[in-house]
């Protein structure tokens, strides 16, 4: 069975992080949390979790490094093209009826999802009247999201995703290539506010018509998932939309009865 001492050390590390830096990982799914700490241990050359704990307590830069392992900064533009196609074809026509829009992208990581949605809204003529809040707990990811510079090697895949997501032009219309980077069109983020916000510890900051929170909730245990669903419910306007990752659902949560499936396949739900 799992090494008892290691379990205790992990618990203490997570507690230390909370006490010292107010990042709350106490209700994350334990199995993958453990994998990520052990990976960090290796990469940061600590002999054991207690040594890692001591190091991050006394060295904020080391904590920032650990945070890169604990959060999972992986993303893609137009990831799951079917999701973005459903937003475009089914959700956008209903969003059009609002004179102004607020969209919350929770757990936006390095920004790929933000630029994807911004492009979609621009092509549908909605971006100018939309405010996008893009939030995450990882300051480094947020900074990269703000810069909007992506490795050019991924752009072929992103272009293919964009096309399958119903893109109306060419993805190349929205970036300039420089050496090995793609620099996203700055005007896409004119109405984007990037902000530090934790679904585990912070509260709602605005009313919204659409929330996209993808591949974040799988890292939470059920009570913490419910906390996040609570925030979404509070933030969404009557009949607002909630889009989740392809293996996430509100259906088995404490909030199941407060939403209806809007596009079950693409995991888009609508507040009742």
């Amino acid at each position: 069975m799992a090494d008892r001492n290691l379990e205790i050390e992990l618990k203490l590390l997570i507690e230390a992080i909370y006490l010292k830096y107010s990042y709350d990982f106490r209700e994350y799914s334990p199995a993958s949390m453990k994998r990520r700490v052990l990976l960090a241990l290796q990469q940061m050359r600590c002999d054991n979790v207690s040594a890692l704990q001591r190091r991050i307590l006394y060295d904020a830069a080391a904590f920032m490094e650990l945070l890169q392992y604990l959060t999972i900064p992986v993303s893609e533009m137009f990831r799951d093209p079917g999701y973005f196609l459903a937003l475009r074809q089914q959700v956008v026509p209903l969003l059009r009826t609002y004179p102004s829009l607020k969209v919350w992208i929770a757990g936006c990581s390095t920004g790929e999802e933000v630029y994807s949605l911004a492009i979609l809204l621009r092509e549908e003529g909605l971006l100018e009247r939309t405010i996008i809040y893009a939030t995450d707990i990882n300051p480094r990811s947020l900074e990269r999201a703000r810069q909007g510079i992506f490795a050019i090697e991924h752009l072929r895949q992103y272009s293919e995703n964009y096309r399958r997501a119903g893109g109306k032009g060419s993805l190349a219309d929205y970036y300039t290539a420089a050496y090995d980077s793609a620099i996203m069109d700055k005007s896409l983020k004119d109405n984007v506010t990037f902000a530090d916000h934790s679904l585990a510890t912070d509260s709602v900051f605005s009313e919204t018509q659409l929330i996209s929170c993808r591949n974040v909730l799988i890292y939470f245990n059920k009570p913490l998932q419910d906390r996040a669903f609570g925030l979404f419910h509070e933030s969404l306007c009557h009949r607002g939309f909630l889009g989740l990752g392809s293996k996430e659902t509100v259906e088995f949560s404490g909030y199941a009865s407060l939403y209806e499936p809007f596009d079950k396949q693409e995991r888009i739900f609508r507040k009742l």
Binding site: S29, A31, S32, V74, I218, T249
Partner: protein
Amino acid sequence: MNRELAGASLAGRQPPLEAVVIGTSAGGLGALSLLVDGLGAAFPLPLLVVQHVPADMPTQLAEIFGRKTALRVKEADDKEALQPATLYFAAPGYHLLLEGDRSLSLSQDEAVHFSRPSIDVLFESAADALGPAVAGILLTGANEDGAAGLEAIHRAGGLTIVQDPAEAEVDTMPRAALQRFAPDHILPLRNIHRLLRELE
């Protein structure tokens, strides 16, 4: 190590098994079909499978197998509780992990051995969560994913079975495990199948 079936039985094992985890890649569909052949509602354990498939070509494993067996077959969902007589497939693009409270979690952490889902990730989490109460089975496959995970199950006191490389369609995966440690059993598929049938 036991190449024969004599003496092998999962039924009387102490502590009793709580789950069977299975990993395979190339050649896996045929091997799995044989393995679950005839298993049904009386099968007392959950079976969790990581079968590598190309990420851009997600096959409908659950649908294919749903037609082949009387077990309940589904793609594993995040935070669901394990049920007996159920065959869970890891979803394409996500790692599948077993938690200490006998529920499942998904993650999108980096690929392991270029694979997501990765067999190592499932096996290592199962070793952690269930220790001696899990059986790990590694079948035909074309890379080394699963070898370290099966060894983790072995170290935690779980039962380990490797498909006999001599009959495996692709023997890289079973051989990688055998290079690391001596599993409890090295068996041809029909004998692994018989062990499972005995549990019913």
